[in-house]
Symmetry: C2
Subunit: 457 residues, 2 copies
């Protein structure tokens, strides 16, 4: 049960009337729950509430708000106040805030931050070096580290002094040149004799990632090795920072949303549904709708090619949407299976032959299954056994073709270094539809040759 | 870089020739990397290797293998050996293994487990009480807890003694009736004075979930509150166990795969692509293909309804796939945006009106945009300005209708307590296609009335 549902309305009134009361609430409620309530206030009121508490408390709440809410509140508070709050955030949350603000505000906050907290500004500059969606952008530079000659007691003191690092799960042992020598879990630290040197209890096999690694790959890595924090180490072997598991969960959710949107033929949105502006939607949807629309022009060309046959047997046109969409559906199934298989690393380019064999077999069986039902339906519509045969054979052909095209095109696109998730849909849709029309009319021309010839006279 | 890629081939040879060498490798390599190599062996060899090491070492590797690999190796090792390995696993991994084995093997292992390790068998029975994909199934009953009168030193001892719990991040303080009183992070434990009572350093606001909560909701909860471990508490308030963040990452990945498959109109697979058997594919794909196929029959009925118009102006049939698929594409965009918005909790049923207004606006603009391009294309095909007007008006109508149906149907299905992700696709596809045909021919009948009448004579 979310607290905000229970006490949200009352809390909102309290906060509006007495913004200062938030400080005491923070001791009793999870900042996440308070953030929920703040997000429900008008931006003016939210700004007043956050301005009424200490920046370090405001930071706890501010970092949990959505990009667009942060932006709206920042406009009301002004860059100076936002810089004070940003100074109190962890480096990874701070850069996320700056990335989410509009350019003008982001620049203004960065400028003020240089006066408010030069160290924080320096951390921003360091993370800024790395590309968007990379490990370097995701990491925090607040971690606990000791030298190789430290004792367990020294490590415990280091944890105690790390008041800024909000979560500590490991202590890293770094050489003087910043190279990681090993890692100690807090559990090992708790149970070890304080007098021991850390070199006696550290684990040497450190799993790390380079700062340029894509965040999606970082997520896979952490998932694979069940890590709570993952060190980022640069090309020279120097320790740069750590990525914590809570950021990875956010990455997974974000990437999942993007995948779903891409599969629905929408260019991934940067904001949530309601926070996305009208013209952004038009752009993100319009580009894909247009690509698919242009691709589908070829179905018109294909049908024109069979104009004579269509004129002779108008009944043929009744089945076009049914057959074409069935091909598209089987193609869509195969492509989503293969794209997901590639995304989780199961299907590799070299597996194309194994995939082809499977899809060919499935296509024939599924096509045969639908052909049986299709045959019966055509008979009950009274279009006769020969027409039913055309539809049935087309179904076998079209479903098999759909499976083959739907499974092979993503692999081909990947081979050509395109992202299969973003580029498959329009190709598959138009290719399967046009090929489906050819299969249909070819069977019709063969089986109904005499009918077509008779009508042509 | 995955170690298994570098040393996989050599390691495989070493393991095949000398299965006993695995024990020493375990000290140097991450079990995940060894599991990668084992997964690449034939099941016979893998069984030999695992049989050659101590069950507690084998458990570390076995729990990291895929369901089907576990199954194949279990067949070779026999239920007795598997029971010894299962006894060494964490309760959550153990139940996952038993759930993944075929029924016969699963029953056999459960039986042997009762002799091998009655306590482990008891834990299995406890987790078995909860439904699949619930918090109760996901939790481990190995956690560290102390009583309310314990000192910090007692808590540290409890951590030291918890050799079985593979990862410890929190110590829970439980009342004699098992009700949780608070939680202490290892960090707080490290820095606290050992003589203090735990009651002085515990945090009281424990966020917990009931054992019946769906694993997807558990994942959302952990993500929201940035937790590393989440307690499971039953209806009477008693502490049952904890869910750790690594299991949640697996849940997120699993749910993401299911979502992608559902959006591709495939019933979610239980295994990976290559591990799924032929007839399972046919069943999982066939049911959806059939549902979509039966839905599309209505396009045939709709077209038959306009038989006279089609006979009079055959050119109309050239545009059917183009127009119908464009409606389907816009509907697919809207439904994936709304389904994802509901999944992440942004769009609620009560928001239907806001969604409708947005989709209506977007549909009109997107439809108008495609109508302009469609108009020009019809003109270049030489079908004349009146025909171009029919196509353009249809595009506005069909895209707007697609947006409205695609966004409203998932909300309606949710209202009727169906899962929108699983049930939307066939409804939307056939409804949009059939309505598209009606829109198209209605415009044609009005604008081309004289042409149709002339041809009918």
């Amino acid at each position: 049960m979310r607290v905000s549902h229970l006490i949200g309305p009352e809390l909102r009134v309290v906060l509006q009337e007495n913004p200062g009361s938030l400080a005491s609430l923070l001791e009793e409620l999870h900042p996440e729950d308070i953030a929920d309530v703040i997000a429900g206030l008008r931006a003016d009121d939210a700004a007043k509430v956050l301005a009424g508490i200490a920046p370090e408390d405001a930071a706890l709440i501010f970092e949990r708000l959505e990009d667009d809410t942060q932006g709206a509140i920042a406009e009301r508070m002004g860059p100076e106040s936002v810089a004070h709050i940003a100074a109190e955030m962890a480096p990874d949350d701070r850069i996320e805030l700056l990335d989410g603000l509009n350019e003008e505000m982001s620049t203004a906050v960065r400028e003020r931050l240089r006066n408010v907290d030069p160290e924080a500004a320096q951390e921003v500059a360091e993370l800024d070096r790395w590309p968007a969606h990379s490990a370097g952008r995701l990491m925090t530079t607040e971690y606990v580290a000791v030298g190789p000659s430290a004792s367990v007691q020294d490590a415990i003191l280091a944890v105690r002094e790390a008041v800024e690092a909000e979560t500590v799960h490991y202590v890293y042992v770094l050489a003087p040149n910043e190279q990681p020598l090993g890692v100690i879990s807090l559990r090992d630290l708790v149970v070890a004799d304080p007098a021991l040197p850390v070199s006696r209890i550290l684990r040497q096999n450190i799993i790390s990632v380079p700062p340029t690694m894509d965040q999606e790959d970082v997520a896979k890595y952490m998932a694979k090795y069940d890590l709570i924090a993952l060190p980022v180490v640069d090309a020279s072997g120097a320790f740069l920072g750590i990525i914590t598991v809570d950021d990875i969960i956010d990455v997974l959710t974000e990437e999942q949303t993007e995948d779903v949107q891409r599969l629905g033929a929408v260019e991934p949105l940067e904001d949530t549904y309601f926070a996305t502006k009208f013209w952004v939607f038009i752009r993100k949807r319009g580009s894909w709708l247009l690509a698919l629309f242009l691709g589908e022009f070829f179905t018109g060309t294909a049908l024109r090619h069979f104009d004579g046959v269509l004129q002779a047997v108008t009944t043929l046109s009744f089945y076009v949407p049914l057959l074409v969409s069935t091909g598209g559906n089987s193609g869509g199934q195969s492509s989503s299976l293969v794209i997901r298989g590639m995304a989780v690393g199961e299907i590799k380019l070299t597996d194309w032959w194994r995939v082809l064999v499977r899809e060919l077999g499935q296509g024939l069986v599924l096509g045969g299954f639908l052909a049986t039902i299709g045959f019966l339906r055509v008979m009950t519509w009274g279009d006769g056994p020969r027409f039913a045969a055309v539809v049935a054979l087309t179904l076998v052909g079209i479903v098999t073709m759909g499976c083959v095209v739907g499974s092979m095109l993503p692999l081909l696109l990947k081979r050509l270094r395109f992202d299969p998730a973003t580029s498959s849909a329009p190709f598959i849709a138009s290719l399967v539809d046009v090929m489906g029309i050819f299969i249909y009319f070819t069977f019709a021309k063969i089986i109904l040759a005499d009918v077509i010839a008779a009508a042509g006279k």
